[in-house]
Assembly symmetry: C2
Homo-oligomer: 302 residues x 2
């Protein structure tokens, strides 16, 4: 028995936020602007441009205002920012950010490390931020971090995820995002969690933010496609990882995800060859080879 | 709608054959014997010990006789060899090999490059070898190379795969193995091919030999599990690749496959931590880091 896969899949490109936030080498604003331009030219239609966080704690995000000031806002492209605090949201409002992500961790330990708040305190704050953002005319994706397990706590009971999802839905979030921040999901767990979350969200937009910490990223994507998910956060080059998760590794690579989708006949609107090219200057700037299989198509066999 | 996954999965370990056949650095017979001993100690119950090929063409396999002479044959463990010619089969018979793999490519171009025979000539020869092997009391797995696509020809029509499978079944092979020799399978194609092959094989044992050339290996495993496949060829460290396929990359890694299976609650009988340890001397000998995600569990985050 087969469930049919979604015919079109949206890629939410996070290289400029999750991808580089932990990279020590600072990426110049000009390079970020080039990358955004090229991602759009390749057909990417959702781009996470920055977070609005403490500039001294995350220097890579210090140019958020400059970036938002200078990006060309193309019709049909969703430019998004990640918000972690009221101060951040106020900055985003001043930058006329049209779409924000607001996340709460389903794990108490991670919530404390990541936000210095318990889950219920963090939820209360998130709900307030969602209201503020919507009052300012923004679209909101509300997300659950560590929805599939926690590097500190191990398994995370689904009811904790559902509780957050229900609260976000009640508050009128435009999209629910489940994040496998620790990279602990497996394809079977994916099915179970998604089936139960779908029971709550119904027809709401549902997206996934997956990390490839233990190599199961694309298997999880396939499992999620089978459950009807059609929006995936990915990072060029498989870069990324949360600073407050031990052993965290990169996001699923945009190149590999797009490759798999195309191989299965699903449409993303993205030109894969161009996308691989678009990443090369960033690879050079960071001075490290992307861990990407789709590039095997472009490079001589080693 | 969910198909239930098999509860137990068998790992057919190919590191000693496919894994190292292309490695320039020769692995001493002693090290191979150590590895076989340790694989068995870790719980691996199917081991491809060697092929029987031209010693000067594949020096890594030159010690096949010495190896088969010296391995401790433990009850409950399947020791297997790959056979490519009558001469090879005669050598295997002299070595009292209990189980052999005999493969034909579904792609004309690859068949010519790999065996210097057309597909129909290769099939004729394979059928003769199957008969000979069974007459000698051996169990036979008969396989289709490039069952999911060919690096030279691109897509391979399923009817060509089915034709080979039917011939093998008719000849009384004990197991059918589909090999994604070029690493071109995707999870959706996997479903389609397996559903059609199952239609021919019925209750016969069905196994998969997957390469991770383009990063879709574990997604393909998950897809195949959903179709009831419960035997997978894997290589320690993700080593391997056919010399007659341009851009070929390693087999799916035993460590990562076992990791995913265990995470999903499926049993393999293998101790993963021990398995990772067992591979370290080989990694040192070859002087290159295994491309394995499961090792992220064992090593400090980079």
């Amino acid at each position: 028995m087969k469930l049919s896969l979604p015919k079109k899949v949206q890629i939410h490109e996070v290289v400029l936020r999750d991808g580089i936030q932990n990279e020590k080498k600072l990426i110049p604003t000009e390079e970020k602007l080039r990358l955004i331009r090229e991602l759009v030219a390749c057909g990417v239609r959702r781009i996470e441009v920055s977070s609005f966080v403490n500039r001294s704690l995350v220097p890579q995000m210090a140019d958020a205002e400059a970036l938002w000031e200078r990006i060309e806002r193309r019709r049909g492209v969703l430019y998004s920012a990640l918000i972690l605090s009221e101060g951040g949201l106020e900055r985003a409002i001043r930058c006329r950010v049209p779409h924000v992500g607001i996340f709460v961790s389903a794990s108490e330990t991670h919530s404390l490390k990541n936000s210095n708040k318990s889950v219920s305190e963090a939820l209360k704050e998130a709900v307030r931020l969602i209201d503020m953002a919507q009052d300012a005319g923004m679209k909101v994706r509300a997300g659950v971090m560590n929805a599939f397990g926690c590097a500190y706590e191990g398994p995370v009971p689904v009811h904790r995820v559902l509780k957050l999802v229900r609260a976000f839905k009640k508050r009128g979030a435009d999209e629910i995002c489940l994040a496998d921040s620790s990279g602990l999901a497996n394809p079977l767990r994916m099915e179970d969690v998604l089936a139960r979350v779908r029971g709550e969200t119904g027809e709401m937009e549902l997206s996934l933010h997956l990390h490839n910490t233990r190599g199961l990223g694309l298997a999880n994507v396939f499992s999620a496609l089978r459950q009807g998910v059609a929006i995936f956060d990915t990072s060029l080059g498989g870069l990324g990882g949360c600073p407050f998760i031990p052993g965290a590794r990169g996001n699923i690579a945009t190149e590999d995800t797009v490759f798999m989708l195309h191989e299965m006949g699903l449409k993303t609107g993205i030109e894969l060859d161009m996308l691989i090219e678009a990443g090369l200057p960033l690879e050079t700037l960071l001075g490290k080879a992307f861990q990407v299989f789709a590039s095997n198509l472009k490079r001589p066999p080693s």
